[in-house]
Symmetry: none
Subunit: 209 residues, 4 copies
DNA sequence: GATGAATGAGTCTTCATTCAT
DNA sequence: GATGAATGAAGACTCATTCAT
């Protein structure tokens, strides 16, 4: 008796303790990413993922109690990787003056968005921001808060008075620039002039004179 | 970048001739918008829409040959309304100096994005940008081009030299600001200081000192 | 409230009295034949036929109370045309000696099967032999009986003793030859040698050396 | 002669590995045959077959990706059984003189057509000769070729000069006789006089004096 | 733990047929 | 008589999920 539960389990069913389990989970996640990129979210089925992973559908459900939990895990992994890139270099940024700090910040964000852009795109464009699958959007919000915090640090160098408003604008701006770049003009990201220009945009708005 | 597209009929099946059928089409579209906002794209089914419209499923398919075409019609209607708002006031903007032009432009875009924001959100976040359903994304691209064209007009007033790059940045920025505002901080839009600030952001970047 | 009736009306709803009605009926039948040949029985819908006839679906149902009655009418018309060809020349055949009679008989049957072969094929191969739509198969049976009757007339010239058995064999043979010829080797029918050969086949079997 | 073909998956979806699934497949096929004979092709639905098989509709689709593939499998099985009967005894026929060869040949064909005549009838009369479902018609064509080949072997004993034409006539004749017998006068087949008579028909036409 | 056969609720969609205008 | 909008039962088919082996 199937009867799809209204409330879907999203928590991974269990933490794999042994190395073999860990490997299986990774295989499944990799396959899920591949299928997702290749077929899109709508046409991605748990059976297809299991097959692509060379794993029985039963085993897949051993580790992911629902399709949603599978995608959520993928989102989480992707987000974690992005987050890692940003957080790793964050300390260094805090102590720099405004312009180089802004420049580095933008670099970081761009790099973070450039991690597996195909997957990023599918995750952003096709996966419903529902429940735990909304993790990517949550991460974008995190970044937002991060930028705000960074602004606070550089408060003395700023021209703008309403810090909250400025933070919002700057954050939205940087986030959007990188986001759009990755999605629609990825080649832009290789161009150093692009980073200069974006830095200019931000610094001119935020900074004194 | 792949994402295999299923071929689905997206063109409305037939143009309704009688007043009665025009009313039916409108009823269906209104119901579709309601269901979409309430249940999200995934859980929106043609049967649910028909039921919500108080119309038989057959009638729905008389006018919309697929679920996709139904959503596409919704997208088109939404986009048209937004486009109307922007295009109507565009001539007036062309002849203004940079700052007031920028200010008015931002106002316009904000207003355009404030049309039925709930629907806008669902359409942007949950509807796959596939086939004719991608109309909203297309419209965002249109806006992009519009901003570029507007920049060209004001070339003489600009500080930036690489117009293409600047256009891209400015467009992404404005678009993102309004977009994010609508989605995450709609109350911002009522605040005139917000418009001032956004204008500042843009003009400082683009304009001569 | 649709509710398809279990028992389908197959009798034409009414006999058209006026010339205009007659013309409409003919238009519909012609369209039905076209659609049937072009799309096959399964994909033939009453709506499609009405459209092809340039007539509203309502008008179609004015004359044909069901899809079955429509196809049945088509079958009947086709069969009547075939029957006409055969019966017209039948008297003349009765008085001829065995060989020329057989030859003429075969000619007739071939000619009858060559009336609108495309439609004939669809009617034979795709239309279920159900209810009144089975008219074509019935006609084939009629031909069978006709051949048997003809054999009775020529009893004195025959070699065979078990007339019933011979009749069955001869009938099946002639019917099959013409039938297969029309369906799979229509070009055979233009070849006079073909008629000679078929005549030989029959006469050698039936006749006194 | 067109008849637009819809592309439908006709290949069985997967080969069952476990004994359990092999049994399921057989159960489904048996049920399909029963339903087909009882209700006819048009009224045969996948759901009805699944129900008759005591199997969920999902299981049916596990093995047969479309209604067409289900019927095609049935056709294939039926044809294979018929083919087996004929091919098995074919060598023996090649070396016999004309008359006993003809006699044996006819016996074989009759026997082949007498395998599950009810199913045979439905398959011949109601199943559209489309795609892989046309297998029965194809088999009849095979038989045709077989007869032609057999004629070639006996060329020296034949009276007829135009071998191609004679082959066509003989093939159509034998095929038709057995076919009609099975469909409309199955009791004929038990009567040895029938086989004698049919042999006579063929041999008189083909043979010397 | 793994496997994969089985499940069936739920989707989209068609089309013969009716009936208000 | 004609029109075509509306109907909804019914069909094909999918896929997340379960569970016997």
């Amino acid at each position: 008796m199937p009867v799809r539960a209204r409330r879907v389990r999203t928590q991974p069913r269990k933490a794999p303790r042994q190395a073999r389990s860990r490997a299986t989970v990774d295989t499944i996640l990799a396959a899920a990413a591949r299928v997702l990129v290749k077929d899109g979210f709508e046409r991605t089925t748990t059976n297809r993922v299991a097959e692509a992973a060379g794993v029985s559908i039963g085993s897949l459900y051993q580790y992911f109690p629902s399709k949603e939990s599978l995608v959520a895990a993928l989102v989480t992994a992707h987000v974690d990787e992005m987050r890692g890139l940003v957080l790793a270099a964050l300390e260094e940024v805090r102590v720099l003056p405004l312009r180089p700090a802004a420049r580095r910040m933008i670099e970081l964000l761009v790099a973070a968005h450039a991690v597996d852009p195909d997957l990023h795109r599918v995750l952003m464009e096709q996966v419903p921001r529902t429940g735990r699958m909304g993790g990517l959007a949550d991460f974008e919000a995190d970044l937002h808060r991060l930028i705000v915090a960074w602004l606070e640090v550089h408060r003395s160098e700023l021209r703008v008075t309403d810090l909250g408003l400025a933070a919002f604008l700057a954050a939205a701006t940087v986030e959007a620039i990188t986001h759009f770049s990755v999605l629609y003009q990825p080649e832009r990201l290789r161009d150093p002039a692009f980073l200069d220009e974006a830095t200019d945009l931000i610094v001119r708005y935020l900074g004194r004179d």
